[in-house]
């Protein structure tokens, strides 16, 4: 099966970037984004993902070629607005149903390892 030219050009770019040691991502950044995402990576994963994510970031970096000044970001695919719900109660789940899939429960509560009083409030 023929691998398309775009793949090759992206690979070349990554290779060139690696050679020039201008990988977009460092190991430290991958670890940091892993922590931000609450994914506790092994050393091997950090290495693998540093290379793979760098090559993807290289590729998506091609967006920089485009002049988007004056172009509004498009976050919502369709121009919908004002979708509102009446303030009417609906039947939900019983505590037993809510807790049915909980990895750990304690009485009517979800149970988690002890959390220190350091949380972020709303």
């Amino acid at each position: 099966m023929r691998v398309d030219v775009a793949i090759r050009s992206a690979r070349d770019l990554t290779a060139a970037a690696r050679k020039a040691r201008i990988l977009p991502l460092s190991r430290e950044e991958v670890l940091k984004v892993g922590t931000l995402s609450r994914i506790g990576l092994s050393d091997a994963e950090v290495g693998r993902f540093t290379t793979q994510l760098s090559s993807i970031l290289d590729y998506v970096g091609k967006l920089r070629e485009l002049d988007t000044s004056g172009v509004e970001p498009l976050a919502h695919a369709l121009p919908l607005h004002n979708v509102l719900r009446p303030d009417e109660p609906r039947t939900g789940l019983a505590p037993e149903q809510a807790l049915a899939g909980a990895p750990e429960a304690s009485g009517d509560f979800f149970r988690v390892p002890r959390v220190l009083d350091e949380g972020v409030s709303a």
Binding site: I7, G40, L53, I56, L78, P103
Partner: protein, 493 residues
Amino acid sequence: MAITDLTACRMREALRRREFSALEAADASLAAIARLDGRVRAFLSVDADGARRRAAGIDKRLAAGEPAGLLAGVPVAVKDNMCTADGQATTCASRILGGWRAPYDAHVVERLAAEGAVVVGKTNLDEFAMGSSTENSAFGATRNPWDLERVPGGSSGGSAAAVAARMVPLALGSDTGGSIRQPAALCGVVGLKPTYGRVSRYGLVAFASSLDQIGPFGRTVADAALLLQATAGHDPRDSTSVPEAVPDYLAALEEPVRPLRIGLPKEFFGAGLDPEVRRVVRDALAAYERLGAQMVEVSLPHSAEYAIAAYYIVATSEASSNLARYDGVHYGRRSSDHADMIDMYMRSRVQGFGDEVKRRVMLGAYALSAGYYEAYYKKALRVRRLIRRDFQDAFKTVDCIMGPTSPTAAFRQGERTADPLAMYLSDVYTVSCNLAAIAGVSVPCGFTRAGLPVGLQIITDVFTEDRLLRIARMYERETAWADRSPPVCEARP
């Protein structure tokens, strides 16, 4: 002709005429699954008892002459990222959900039940619909019925393969960047991604919320139309579901669209396109020309490669957010050993997610993080607007846009797994449709010399699925691709 060889439309008529019962149809489907799925591995779960029970219920209604719905007695498969409250697990092909059973039905699952469909099982996918080959499943890869050494495409590979191998006439998939159309192309079936907002996403486990859309697989255009008919429409539980009336997709299906101006974007026929796929697609376009269609060269300058770049930022950003909830607290899998709360999150997620999910979640978190938001996420949204404008401009002069669905036919298992970027480029022609929120379909248009199916992608503007289906049907009438069945169906074990 065996029951499983019937299209959904034919089966529906036969059921109404009581030529066979819904229970027989369900049993035929279950038997096909039992016979074939050991090799194809399209299903993650099969609910034989539930299916037979539902079929018997439909038979009662049919016998009593009661209305039984648009899909009365027709077996259907559902991609396993849609919630079912039937007691079957909803897995998203991920370990992290740990056998979670949804306490509620997705909107589309409710619709299927209301229209009398018999859901026989839930199909395999790339974990959380992230992938283009159905190899990223925690429960093993699905194989392409046309060549078991090859991938069925993805992420709805299980649904595409189940329909291609005639285990079910209809299946639902979800399409975030091509996850219905690309596997439809690679498996030689019809797969349609409706306009964003046409089908409710309530109960579809989110990958990228602004791009995800549920759509039908069938062996024929009419079958896809039938399943779309049954599932489309407004749902107040999805704020992005559009309260537009659903046209009767089947009523005018046989009416050709005339005059028909077909836009051919040069970006869809560029350097990355496999020559054999190009030839087969060109032949299909020639068929349209013979039907009187006018070919118009259009430009979608930001589609193809820029679209892939924008797509992988937007989709991964949303995914990093949508998948934050899988943390082992309220449901799903929790790591067994952990020092504290944060350690529990870190271990549960690193153990529960596969590599592709980890990559995308991290890429998305990176694109949204302080200092990179403008350069990546916001930039991608600006390009997204440019892509939508490209299509809006094009639709001023053409009725539809055509090109190949995928740059290649089905590739070998393992061929692209080591190179995520190569895998991403499988979606090069499909992602722009999701970014622009418009409708697209892949219809079978021939085979490579190696006997692998090729798909023709047809794209139309928002909420014009009726025209899209008619345009697809014009070509289908001229061909007999749907009559071919893959080798796996013939081979007896």
